[in-house]
Subunit: 238 residues, 2 copies
Amino acid sequence: MTGRLYVLGVGPGDPELMTLKSVRILRQVATVFVPKGREEGSSLALSIVQKAVDLSDKEIIESYFPMRKTRGSVAQEDLDAQWQDTVKAVMERLNSGIDVAFITLGDPTIYSTFFYLHDRLIDLNPDISIELVPGVSSITAAAARSGTYLGIADDRVAILPANYTGDLRDVLMQFETVVLMKVSKVFSNIVSTLRDVNLLDKAVYVARAGMEDEQVVRDLREVREEDLNYFSIVIVRK
Amino acid sequence: MTGRLYVLGVGPGDPELMTLKSVRILRQVATVFVPKGREEGSSLALSIVQKAVDLSDKEIIESYFPMRKTRGSVAQEDLDAQWQDTVKAVMERLNSGIDVAFITLGDPTIYSTFFYLHDRLIDLNPDISIELVPGVSSITAAAARSGTYLGIADDRVAILPANYTGDLRDVLMQFETVVLMKVSKVFSNIVSTLRDVNLLDKAVYVARAGMEDEQVVRDLREVREEDLNYFSIVIVRK
């Protein structure tokens, strides 16, 4: 009997936003894999889980992942080596019949690090048992914390990560709601684009939704450069 | 002291996908408002909650909402009257200092019925205390159940409800991932559009994600007309 790999979305930051299912699974598994990046948020997923579940008798394996990565921005060979270490550690345990959990901030299907591992695991063993357990996404958490909605009725919603190129204006015209992810690096561009298309007053900035140091700023002109946070989202609702 | 209105996302269907927070709040409040539509799923939110929390000592108020509504499709006066009843019932309890919960399937910020109430409540009392508690969305649950992701790295994601007009092709060209909500009424149109743009093999159909009678169909040609379900989603990933 081989073990099962559970990929758990642990929600946006508030331990109470973990699901009953992820808490139950974390209590059951022997080993917890924690993605670890260079950013301050790297061990955030672990700190969330530790507030809700006693992990003292578990094996904790921290794996380095460059969280801010976009395609082609990091030397592929380095990444491959790092991922291979994690793949190997996961496989050893599964092959010994040990169930393991891989935790991700928010939800595993939205911009999580897990899917960089996924194909490598499947390549090694196509019969590997993987269960993705959805979690509360930082996107809906940001909407909730700012008291707005992403969509009602026949609204259309676009989600764009930080590296959007010149077509932000087009998307703003086409969609009732536009969610801009990880805006800190390009914040001033966003503000000027929104001003140009007269949507600056329709935008809200939310950083670290659901965490203790959460920020909700309804006037983007008031967001100070030094406050800009990796876990920041702008929601534009027309 | 007036009471607080908690708007709780109870997740996509599996009671274990409720958050710790929504369970705690449901244990604390005296009254639970349940949106009730004409469709079969109308009391689904209540049945999810009942599997996780003992509601036997709570006041349960079912409020009629036409869940399939899109703007302008239902006589506005009828809706107004129905909503006013619920608004009144909520306000009476809050004014008596009673905390109440309004439960919504999935997440309250994504196509939930709550926001039809929200403005009416604020109109009556701008100081009303409302807390939106995010939940697991049916969108990420559908992605998880079909073993795919909605986005990694700099992918762009579009979410379109069923009433999309002629621009589905454009959106399919522009976005790496397109999520089509509540596809049952327009399913054959979707299939033919996807075939035209050569993306039929990149789509997956997921109905009732996380529920006992969940369906995941990887070849849209195999989805039978009679199986089409109100709670159905198509995810197209290029």
